[in-house]
């Protein structure tokens, strides 16, 4: 964390207007060489717009951008790249069917030196690609297809490509949102290397932990306005969150959960030797009434697979699941729902919402599906149900007939929660319910869930964010390599969980 030496990029008085909206209003940003700069803000704060301005995807209405002392006006991402500003997005923008080396040098292939028409010099290509990746401490086979590597590696390859083309400013737009803890560490190692090379890095993320782990300075935006620029070492978490949400927002330091280790309630769900080939090794599981069971583990540890198996979305190869003592058929969500299970799936857009249907229809869908074709829930009753959950969960929508696709991510998730609560489930399975949702909405959502657990509903809470799970769960199930690695009581030490996840216990 050496003191910033030289200023690379200065953006001043940047404004950007869209019809009817002022997405950015007099925003400033300063990036220094060899520094990781975090850009923070809630959904809709203007982070994406600012990035688009810097990369030329969407030129500013007014304001100046100064790069190495010269004023520039990038008018396209390609143009920005020529000036030395490269971006790596959350979704990897590479060709999965090409090799790693081909991707790194796409459009800039080396040709055979002695006759140019002779085609690409594959040896030189692979050699150079290898060197580029070595610099980032990545040791992988550059001749293999990009798609054969996990997303994390693909992302680092994208970074390698970006920094190899031009390397003054590197913008990382939510690079870690689909990575697990280990992969994040790998990525951070790469970022550290780039930092020592004197590149100015702009890092956009939702994860507070990561900001404190890697960044030197923080710029906070709110509603398109510049809130402030801070040294990371001088701004504590509460201060950062307060700057982002604009109100005094005290992080829950104390758990709401009951931590009823001696929970003597009746067992809601009992799974025995539940298994599916290639997805979950035989697993035993028990959840009691009113209990919040947190499930943690790395990506691919079997968290989501477990949820899908319990709910009958994937059919089990062996084992049994009893809900309130009754046997589940294990291959039908319909049957699972009939027995009182509910699942908010990980993929909200593709597996959760039906975008074109209204908020009302999305809320009644699961209850109606459990009823079957008849009796149809009367229109009046549908309206009452929808209105009730909109009020109860604080869903922000124009009205209950608005198509759910027009709502923000957090509100969509609340509607889905309402959909399941309408069925009065015995056990609610939540798979990453707070992913891609801003801090304030996240807090509201977890509060709502925990209130429900206190009323006797059991909750299976799957999350990649350990803080959340530690805070809210009565018991924690740790998954590793598609099997149960162990169980810990709620409120236990973070290190104990890490040890189990890493397999060092």
């Amino acid at each position: 964390m050496s003191a910033p030496v030289e200023c690379v990029l200065k953006a001043r008085e940047i404004s950007r207007e869209f019809p009817g909206v002022r997405a950015l209003d007099n925003v400033q940003l300063t990036l220094c060489a060899g520094e990781v700069h975090a850009l923070m803000g809630q959904n809709g704060a203007g982070k994406s717009t600012l990035i688009k301005v810097l990369t030329g995807a969407c030129p500013p209405t007014s304001g100046t951008i100064e790069l190495d002392g010269q004023f520039i006006q990038p008018h396209s991402p390609l143009d920005a790249q020529r000036h030395g500003i490269s971006t790596v997005y959350q979704e990897v923008n590479l060709c999965p069917n090409l090799s790693v080396a081909e991707n790194i040098f796409a459009g800039r292939y080396p040709y055979h030196p002695w006759f140019k028409g002779g085609g690409i010099d594959w040896q030189a290509l692979n050699q150079r690609a290898h060197e580029v990746l070595e610099k980032l401490n990545l040791h992988i086979d550059v001749a293999r297809q990009l798609s054969s590597y996990p997303v994390a590696i693909q992302q680092m390859i994208a970074i390698a490509r970006a920094t190899n083309i031009s390397a003054r400013v590197l913008i990382l737009d939510e690079p870690t949102s689909s990575l697990d803890d280990h992969e994040v560490k790998q990525l951070f190692a790469v970022i550290e290397r780039l930092r020592t090379q004197g590149i100015a890095i702009l890092f956009v993320t939702h994860f507070l932990d990561q900001v404190y782990e890697i960044s030197d300075r923080i710029t906070v935006l709110r509603n398109g306005l510049f809130v402030g620029e801070y040294l990371t070492s001088e701004l504590d978490r509460n201060g950062l969150v307060a700057a982002m949400v604009g109100r005094e927002f005290i992080m829950n330091n104390k758990s709401d959960a009951v931590h009823a280790n001696s929970n003597t309630n009746a067992c809601v769900l009992e799974a025995k030797q539940l298994t599916r080939k290639g997805q979950i090794h035989p697993i035993d599981l028990e959840i009691k009434q009113g209990e919040v069971l947190g499930v943690v583990g790395l990506l691919g540890s079997g968290r989501t697979e477990l949820a899908r198996l319990l709910f009958g979305l994937d059919s089990a190869d062996g084992g049994s699941v009893h809900v309130d003592g009754k046997l589940l058929s294990l291959d039908s969500p319909h049957d699972a729902i009939a027995h009182g299970l509910a699942l908010c799936p990980e993929e909200r857009k593709t597996e959760g919402i039906i975008a074109e249907l209204s908020v009302r229809e999305n809320i009644v869908l699961a209850l109606q599906a459990r009823n079957g074709l008849l009796p149809r829930i009367a229109f009046k009753e549908q309206k009452e149900l929808a209105t009730k959950f909109v009020a109860l969960l604080g869903i922000k929508t124009a009205n209950i007939e608005t198509p759910i696709g027009q709502l923000s991510g957090g509100n969509q998730q609340k509607v889905l929660l309402g959909r399941w609560l309408a069925t009065h489930p015995r056990l609610l399975i939540l798979d990453e319910p707070t992913r891609g949702i801003d801090v304030a909405a996240k807090h509201e959502l977890t509060t709502a869930i925990m209130a429900l657990a206190r009323e006797g509903m059991a909750v299976l809470f799957i999350s990649a964010e350990l803080d959340e799970v530690l805070l809210e769960s009565d018991r924690i199930l740790v998954m590793r390599d598609r099997r149960k690695a162990g169980e810990l009581p709620g409120g236990c030490d973070e290190q104990a969980v890490y040890a189990l996840i890493a397999g060092q216990a």
Binding site: L357, L373, R376
Partner: protein, 348 residues
């Protein structure tokens, strides 16, 4: 749909999905009555209504029937291109049963009952076959139903022994030629089917489930909608309506032609469904629109026949009509037209 209260009545009519099909139908009826001044005249003759309009309604009945089934399958992200072949199979089965081959006598109505039941069961089984292929094997609907489309003609010809079977059993003629309450019986079958379907879609949760499946099948499954069961039933219903159409057609022409009965009907049905405003991508459908779509096609066909133009023109005119209606339904086209109109409006 959501902001109705903010829109004027004019805007609501202007954005109503049934606007363009109704306008198209009215336009065709106006043209028809210009070409043939007696087109709109309806008289009471021989105990029933009579006239060109009644004739159009009568002839449109088979297409209406097939289109309602097709609409549901399309709404659930499917397609059934075997309906024409199912029409042929049904006709052949009915003809064979009335033939007396299975010991039926030409007296009494029991033969009629057996023929109708046998034909409809066969048609529904055809739908079951299609549905099983789609639901159980995960085949693309167009390929799954292509199998029966090709094989069905063969089956129909095997049943009829490669001949056109003439039907002599008089009670059977009532289905396609008879009148009830002064209206063609075929039309009444089609209307009852449509009304029954409408009631089923609105009084039970079927409509919501089909929309959910059509818009996002995965999410519908996760929410507990029994999408496989429902999809299977829709294919069976589609077979059933094709069977009804087969009865009407074979009764109308008093014969069963394995080769030509219901030929290209699958395309007319898809056309009728689309003209009516149902989205081919699934999830959005309208029973009323589909009925209007079928009427558009039949009105157009009748108009060309009665105008004295050579029948070969029929297909070309149909193509032009489809092109225009689809253009009017396309959002991109509407927006660009709106932009042009808006600009010229402000510049003057």
């Amino acid at each position: 749909m959501n902001n109705n209260e903010h829109k004027s009545l004019f805007q609501r009519i202007g954005s109503h999905p049934l606007l363009s099909p109704i306008a198209t139908l009215l336009l065709l009826i106006i043209i028809s009555s210009v070409v043939n001044p007696s087109f709109l005249r309806i008289t009471w003759f021989d105990g029933h209504f009579s006239g060109s309009l009644i004739d159009v309604l009568n002839r449109a009945a088979p297409l209406m029937l097939v289109s309602t089934g097709m609409m549901l399958v399309i709404a659930a992200r499917g397609l059934d291109i075997s309906v024409g072949a199912v029409v042929a199979i049904t006709a052949a089965v009915a003809a064979l049963i009335t033939d007396g081959t299975y010991g039926a006598t030409h007296s009494g109505l029991s033969t009629l009952f057996i023929a109708v039941a046998g034909a409809l069961i066969t048609a529904t089984l055809c739908g079951l076959w299609n549905g099983l292929l789609v639901v159980k094997t995960g085949m693309q609907p167009i390929i799954a139903t292509l199998i029966l489309m090709v094989a069905g003609r063969g089956i129909a010809q095997l049943i009829t022994g490669g001949q056109i079977i003439t039907i002599y059993y008089a009670p059977y003629f009532y289905i396609g030629n008879g009148f009830l309450f002064g209206l063609p019986f075929a039309l009444i079958i089609a209307l009852l089917t449509a009304i029954g379907l409408y009631v089923l879609l609105t009084r039970t949760a079927l409509g919501l489930f089909i929309r959910a499946i059509g818009l996002n099948p995965v999410a519908a499954h996760v929410a507990g909608v029994r999408s496989r069961m429902i999809t299977l039933s829709l294919y069976m219903f589609c077979g059933f309506t094709a069977g009804l159409a087969g009865l009407v057609i074979s009764s109308n022409v008093k014969s069963a032609d394995g080769n030509n009965a219901g030929q290209l009907m699958e395309l007319d049905a898809i056309l009728a469904v689309t003209l009516g405003g149902t989205a081919l991508t699934g999830g959005r459908f309208t029973v009323v629109g589909t009925m209007i779509g079928a009427l558009i096609i039949q009105t157009l066909t009748s108009m060309i026949y009665s105008s004295g133009l050579p029948p070969q023109v029929n297909l070309a005119v149909k193509a032009v009509l489809v092109f225009v209606v689809m253009l009017l339904q396309s959002n991109e086209f509407r927006n660009s037209m709106r932009a042009v109109l808006f600009k010229s409006g402000t510049s003057t």
